[in-house]
Amino acid sequence: MARTLLQVRDLKIGATVYPPGEDPFDIEIVKGIDFDLEKGKVIGLIGESGAGKSTIGLAALAYGRGGVRITGGSVLLDGKDILRYTPAGIREVRGRHVCYVAQSAAAAFNPAIRLGDQVIEATLLHSIMGKSEAVERAKYLFGVLGLPEPETFGDRFPHQVSGGQLQRAMTAMALCPHPELIVFDEPTTALDVTTQIDVLAAIKNAIEETETAAIYITHDLAVVAQISDDIMVLRYGETVEYGPVEQIVEAPKEQYTRDLISIRSDIKPEAPDQSGALLRLEHIDASYGEGAQVLFDVSMHLPHGQTLAVVGESGSGKSTTARVITGLLPPSNGQVIFDGQPLPPALKDRSKEQLRELQMIYQMADVAMNPRQTVQEIIGRPLTFYYGLKGEARRRRVTELLDLIEMGDPFADRYPAELSGGQKQRVCIARSLAAKPRLLICDEPTSALDPLVAEGILKLLLELQEETGVSYLFITHDIATVRAISDSIAVMYMGRVVRFGPKSKVLNAPFDDYTDLLLKSVPEMEIGWLEKALASRKMAAAGN
């Protein structure tokens, strides 16, 4: 039997909240968590935002972020309670025995120092090995993690490498001092799927190679199923379910876990008739300023009352396409045809009626609403602006819209900061519906949300489509979402449409190379998927 490395017992973490104008009060963020971690094993912590998973992960370093206090329980590392250590003692533990990989590597690296120096910094600080030895180890780790040119990779600055490479460099930094435990805090959440699979494989490989134990924090069950031995499902700071990965994925006991697993399994059938178009893009070219061209000959169309999903990685031109349609970026070539009429290319030339028929929902609901306006003002403004509603009539319509998005009247006088992420997005939807548009452009409306909340938003959008007959242009990078809600799909890559057609055609063979790669990179809720996906990739590479 392997040695137990980390024992967490009845861990309680709290914080004090200071609401303006009221007396401060204490809240409990983590309410008594227990788990064990053996040497060389990986435990996955999974839950929605606010579940306390990052807080628990940092507690393994005896660290509380931004006013968070560890209020009770014990964290035994090798049998010693690190919560009782002195500040000097805990410094010996951090960076030597326990290391941390942050979610956003781009923000966590110092942009002014070369990667190699940052990777070996903790190792040198703790005098674990000499400089030349540390540099050799860093190069070895760069190799293990599959980074290009391991010999010279360390000479680069953070801005000279891609996001996925930076995330792997951060993993190398954590692995460098031979730690016994690494805490991964959502290391792949900010990455594209095609990059995510590389980073996942690299991390898994490195953990196996170095026999390090790890705590892997994520909100994506499919990801954690690939990498961990045990999974703990968290909600509101409490354990929902804790067990080996096979049991959690194949035979979950709790309803909440089952909900997480079955997410987006119901799929909307595609509309049979896809002729006739509400929106049609014809050979659009676009560029920012005098600079590089971003869109090349983009054509697609969207029938009445249906959903067109635009899929692609970041930088593929999805959002630029939306900007062209809304008139924020007039195209240099081609035209946008709305309901048979060409739309004026620039926003300022469009009529109020044209603007009303075309509304937009943003990815970040919290910056898409003025933080100084109440929900009532936010939803009410389009009513006044387009329909001249005032006073009681406007108030009634706002209540109707709030009911439509399943929130209700009590929310009318709240400010955006007083809403949850899902509620914010619902208010944004209500604001756009207030204009009674015919086309709604949804720019990644669910990608900043937790899976269950996102599920709720998607359901709401589908219901609204049935009720009002509005068409959606749905921009996303998430294939599961596309599969669930679209009628037709446009796959974009490097500013071009590489594949366009009805859902059944686009998602089934024969594939072009890029769509094939994209589809195969989407993690599936199946143990051993990662190995299979990599194997099929290698075979394809060997075949070429």
Partner: protein, 370 residues
């Protein structure tokens, strides 16, 4: 060694030990610094230094107590909603508010409060504080009385002139401040929201004005134009708005690229709505802070202009002018100039203490009106 010195050090050391024991770092830091500083200054100046520290401490404690009680009083008197707002005021802000209210009341009711007239000669030049003098009161009657703060360089009552000076100084500085903010904010938001060549033209003109030293600019313009208080306010506002413009544009440009402004543009909103309803509420925080600072600068700028003879014209009283008139007295140990200087400093500090509190309010994410 007197009993006072023993008591003084015993209190300080006991206080710092207690603070250290209860881990109140801030209190400990202050107390122990004072202890060490007293040791050093005590060696140089003897017991006087300890008395000075004691008196300052008592005055600060009195100010704190006054602020605390004033807040409690306001909470008791005001209606429910305003009381909740007042409750969030720190002691400093509450004290600042009290001083501002008192100053405003004094300025408004100057004729009733001032013992002598603004221009009345009531005694000899630079009489000491508390000496007897006689002259016309604000209603023209000749009365005998006492000059509480002594007389100025022409033998006028210092206290009465301070009270009348509050009238001119506050009204001119406030008018110039408000006007400069109105102009600066409107122009800067237009530049930030509209962008393009409008931004270029406005920003370059602003740069041009910034390139000319303020005082020289004001001197040339004021010398050319007729001398009255409206022109003075307008010139001060025009010069000051360049600073407001720079700050306003910088903060507004951050807001103007946010999604909610884009959403408003996509809705087809006009510039007026975007500037005043979308951008303005979100940039108030830094601008209010700037206003507190600018108000203090406006008082000082007004004093410099008065000093050069282009600001408030004598015999009308204003604080900056009074500092200038009485500055020569300082070499003869006449503190008259210092009273006016203290008045400027107190008002500036108090305004900023209140502004700090308002800042915390508007910075809150609850829409700042909670």
């Amino acid at each position: 060694m007197s009993l006072f010195v023993f008591g003084y050090f015993a209190l300080l050391i006991a206080g710092s030990s207690l603070a250290a024991y209860y881990e109140r770092r801030d209190v400990f830091g202050v107390l122990f610094t004072v202890t060490l500083a007293s040791l050093i200054f005590g060696l140089i100046w003897g017991q006087t230094a300890f008395w000075a520290v004691t008196i300052i401490a008592i005055m600060l404690a009195a100010a704190g107590g006054l602020g605390y009680s004033f807040r409690a009083y306001m909470v008791m008197l005001l209606p429910d909603k305003a009381a909740r707002f007042m409750k969030s005021a720190p002691v400093t802000a509450s004290f600042g508010l009290l001083v501002i209210i008192i100053t405003l009341l004094l300025a408004i009711f100057a004729d009733l409060v001032a013992p002598f007239g603004e221009r009345a000669i009531v005694g000899d030049v630079w009489q000491a504080a508390g000496t007897a003098c006689s002259g016309r009161n604000p209603f023209g009657q000749v009365i005998d009385g006492e000059c509480l703060l002594g007389t100025d360089n022409l033998g006028r009552d210092m206290l009465s002139r301070l009270i009348y000076g509050a009238q001119t100084t506050i009204s001119v500085a406030a008018a110039a401040g408000v006007l400069s903010f109105a102009i600066g904010m409107f122009l800067s938001f237009t530049a930030a929201a509209v962008g393009g060549w409008v931004d270029q033209v406005l920003s370059r003109i602003n740069d041009l004005m910034l390139a000319i030293p303020t005082l020289i600019f004001a001197l040339v313009v004021l010398a050319a134009l007729p001398q009255n208080v409206y022109i003075l306010v307008a010139v001060m506002a025009t010069i000051d708005q360049t600073r407001v413009f720079r700050l306003g544009r910088a903060v507004a440009i951050d807001i103007a690229v946010q999604d909610f402004v884009e959403a408003a543009r996509l809705r087809g909103e006009g510039w007026f709505w975007i500037i005043f309803r979308e951008i303005l509420p979100n940039v108030l925080t830094p601008l209010i802070a700037e206003f507190g600072l600018r108000f203090a600068f406006a008082i000082l700028f007004l004093s410099s202009l008065s000093f050069l003879g282009l600001g408030i014209q004598p015999p009308e009283a204003d604080w900056g002018g009074m500092v200038k008139d009485n500055k020569d007295g300082i070499i003869f140990l006449v503190p008259a100039a210092l009273y006016a200087g203290a008045a400027i400093a107190t008002l500036a500090v108090c305004v900023n203490m209140v502004v700090d509190w308002l800042l915390n309010r508007t910075a809150s994410l609850k829409g700042g009106r909670g």
